[in-house]
């Protein structure tokens, strides 16, 4: 199967049913996307498929074939962070950090569809991404900061 991952054409010889998460981590070596629960209840595996946030543990590789996939490795670069990543650093959002790539990918997708989300919208959209360290107040603040950065850019 062929995929476009972070702007590059990639191939993987996998079964239809293999979760996209396994393709990314085990076949393509992109370990930034995390395995949390495997059943779409935690959000740690969130990536963008054709610009839309999806839980990669739930998407069959066969359904992602030919798609344009962005993982945390492709959202920004160390030299040029995405606005959400900049805000995450400024607010020191991460504690243990395990859930954070999924949080950041979901937040970036949120700001693509709603450039100035209210607290209520942030809470609804981000509730599918669990953080056992309880960094939720910093996540909400960082989303607001990222929204301002994107509007000023």
């Amino acid at each position: 199967m062929e995929f476009t991952v972070n702007g590059e054409k990639r191939e993987a010889d996998v079964e239809y049913d293999m979760p996209l998460l396994w393709v990314l981590r085990d076949e393509l070596g992109l370990k930034g996307t995390k395995y949390g629960c495997g059943v779409a209840q935690c959000g740690a595996c969130t990536v963008h498929v054709d610009g839309v946030a999806v839980r990669s543990c739930q998407l069959a590789a066969g359904e992602a074939e030919g798609s344009d996939i962005t993982t945390i490795e492709g959202l920004g670069t160390p030299e040029t962070l995405h606005a959400v990543q900049e805000a995450w650093v400024e607010h020191q959002v991460a504690q243990c950090g395990y859930c954070q790539s999924g949080q950041i990918m979901q937040a970036a997708a949120l700001l693509d569809q709603d450039p100035e989300p209210s607290d209520e919208v942030i809470d609804i959209v981000m509730s599918g991404n669990l953080c056992r360290c309880g960094t939720y107040p910093r996540i909400r603040a960082a989303v607001h900061t990222a929204a301002k950065k994107l509007q000023e850019a």
Binding site: G38, A40, V54, A60, E63, I124, S127, G128
Partner: protein, 206 residues
């Protein structure tokens, strides 16, 4: 209004005497002859339809204007709103917040993993708010389902075709993941819709 359904069906030559497969080709749409079903048998068919409509596999996604799907049924313990603060929005597909398809992705085969997001070969969504069924009585749902203002203008043949075409509905009888399926089976449910329609869409309040 019921007469309008029948008149329209007659005008379009849709009162069928033999089996005709819809475009979905998943069930036979073979209604009884007009006038062959009495009210008592029509109400008995309705009672079975209500068993299906009120079952968690159907009713959990036929929720009201708060646009929140439900988690209820034997495999869910107590009835509660869908976890993760999920809100499908007025779009009923989650476009305003998180798309249903973020987790309920398109999939050709059964996703038989317990506790995972059910998936079918079409986009997951809530039913229209006009078709609110969760917690509603048999009488309420009966009147909704025969009201073209609240059933997307469908007569009994169109309801049967809807059941044939929309694969998300078929999932109710094959939900996988340890979930209890809806009662009876798809073909029996379609047959009951046809019997109820030919009987004149009787409801207990008539």
């Amino acid at each position: 209004m019921k007469l309008t359904f029948v008149s329209l069906s007659l005008a379009l030559g849709l009162v069928l005497t033999g089996p005709v497969l819809g475009a979905g080709d998943n069930v036979e749409i073979n209604p009884p002859a007009e006038g062959s079903v009495n009210r008592e048998d029509g109400l008995a068919a309705w009672d079975r339809i209500y068993e299906v409509a009120s079952h968690p596999r159907c009713a959990n996604c036929h929720t009201g204007a708060d646009n929140r799907p439900m988690w209820s049924g034997p495999s869910y313990g107590r009835a509660r709103k869908h976890g993760m603060n999920v809100n499908a929005g007025e779009s009923r597909i989650g476009a305003e917040f998180v798309l249903c398809s973020t987790c309920h992705a398109y999939r050709e085969n059964l996703h038989d993993v317990p506790h995972a997001a059910p998936q079918v070969a079409m986009n997951w969504q809530l039913a229209p708010v006009e078709a609110e069924w969760f917690g509603k009585s048999s009488e309420y749902i009966c009147n909704q389902l025969r009201d073209p203002e609240r059933n997307d203008g469908r007569d009994y043949l169109a309801l049967a075709e809807h059941l044939d075409h929309d694969l998300i509905l078929h999932w109710a009888w094959n939900p996988g993941g340890g979930r209890e399926p809806a009662p009876y089976d798809l073909q029996s449910h379609v047959n009951d819709i046809l019997v109820w329609g030919v009987a004149g869409y009787p409801c207990v309040n008539d």
